[in-house]
Amino acid sequence: MDNSFLIYLERLEMMAFFSGYPLVYALAHFVRGNKPAKNNFKQRLVSLLSYAYALVGSLYLGFQFKKLYPDYTIAHINQIVQVPFMAVWGILSIFFWIPFLAKNTILSLIHSLLFFFFLIKDLYLQFAASSPDEHMVSNDMNVYTVSLLLNIAALFLTVFFSFLYNKYKKVSDL
């Protein structure tokens, strides 16, 4: 077995974390509508998208730490991480905790589109192949579903804590 299988597994891991975000992003914007929403919840849903994405990125970072435990040496990282560029790209998502970057939710969408591209690539390969292997796409879609659920959960969690924080702030201001 060469490294291609390990690379594929690593790609699936990244898809599990990030590939569901674009659809969640689009849904959140759809819910809000094009006009500025009067509904506070809808508005907050969109404004917190980047933070939800950063939360998912943090979970991904934690997952990488767990994979490397207990040896965090460079040699071990080189051995475990098959596609360093992709891994670094995934970890970069934690920078969306920075309000300056989080304000532009479009950047988080661009960041996540790379992982959604994997799914499109597999769909295209399946579509173009003379004898398509449905199992690979089936696998991808299972991972994609998990990713959707994870990103939705992350968004609602972020919104929930945001409301809690605001409530606490209002009380303390009084």
């Binding site: 689009a26 914007h29 796409v137 994609y144």
Partner: protein
């Protein structure tokens, strides 16, 4: 949408921060322009939903995923109804089974100095007779001193299965004559080999006797409780007259009967095998030698035929 196209000119800018801010504004504005159009038309959502929908449809294999069959918790055990008994060991009687001593062996092994690889050897002289006190003698013969007839094997009724066996300690053969005739004799409390004599005296005899044979519930084998009797290192008169006996559990494997073989004389015959393995602690018998570890493995490979 964009009203300002900032000029990035490093020579005329007042500070690096302004440049970065302008560049960021430029990128941000253009990206926003591109994606806002998509968002406003809900194209992005439509696109993503279409791609996802296609993915779910394409991934449907229309096959039920059959989970692998669970590992059976019950081992598959097949036992026949063979019965093998020695009878009076009459030559030519195919119903009577004889120990094929020439093709059998009793092997021992133990970790060298208790810490390294195995030290191994075999006993050249052994048999399957119950050597009672009155038979513990020197026999002037080069063949088997006693008939190998103290055993019976019932494949489907282990309660009827029994066996006896013995080895002559001084015939231990490790392939090193200096060891076999030297420290083996002194270290095992026995006497040197006398040519043409089969020494079954208490000083040179170790024997086993099965006390219980039962099915192994997990394999085709049988679990055997047996008693191992040997004086060990102690060669006092008391030890020789009343040697130590230890109860041991071993494993008996039956190698089923194979028939249709033709002997050198042209007669048809059958064979079967019994393999007994067990361990004992040589320190229990007072063996002081540190050349071997405490635990000694014994493997008895007994082949029988009905010639």
């Amino acid at each position: 949408m964009i009203k300002v196209m900032p000029q990035i000119d490093g020579c005329h800018s007042n500070s690096g921060i302004t440049e970065i801010a302008l560049f960021y504004q430029f990128i941000n504005s253009n990206i926003k322009l591109l994606f806002m159009k998509l968002l406003s038309n809900k194209t992005l959502l439509l696109l993503l939903v279409l791609v996802s929908g296609y993915g779910y449809i394409a991934s449907c294999t229309h096959d039920d995923i059959v989970p692998p069959a669970p590992a059976t918790p019950v081992p598959i055990i097949t036992r026949g109804n063979h019965i093998h008994i020695p009878g009076s060991m009459t030559a030519g009687d195919t119903t009577q089974w004889k120990l094929d001593k020439v093709h059998s062996s009793v092997l021992w092994s133990g970790a060298y100095v208790g810490a390294a690889g195995l030290l191994t050897g075999r006993f050249n002289q052994f048999g399957m007779h119950e050597v009672t006190n009155d038979k513990m003698l020197n026999y002037s013969t080069v063949g088997q001193p006693l008939k190998d007839s103290s055993w019976a094997f019932y494949e489907s009724d282990p309660s009827k299965t029994y066996f006896n066996g013995y080895v002559q300690i001084n015939t231990s053969n490790t392939g090193e004559p200096g060891r076999d005739a030297g420290c083996n004799v002194s270290g095992m409390g026995t006497v040197a080999i006398v040519s043409g004599v089969q020494n079954l005296t208490p000083r040179n005899l170790a024997k086993i006797k099965s006390t219980k044979v039962e099915y192994d519930p997990l394999t085709n084998d049988y679990l055997v409780t047996l008693s191992l009797t040997w004086h060990g290192y102690d060669t006092s008169a008391a030890a020789l007259s009343n040697p130590m006996t230890k109860s041991i559990v071993g494993r008996l494997k039956y190698i089923p009967e194979s028939s249709g073989l033709i002997s050198r004389t042209g007669s048809l015959y059958s064979v079967f095998g019994l393999q007994l393995t067990f361990q004992f602690n040589c320190r229990d018998f007072g063996i002081p030698s540190t050349s071997v570890g405490d635990v000694i493995d014994i493997e008895c490979n007994m082949n029988f035929n009905n010639l």
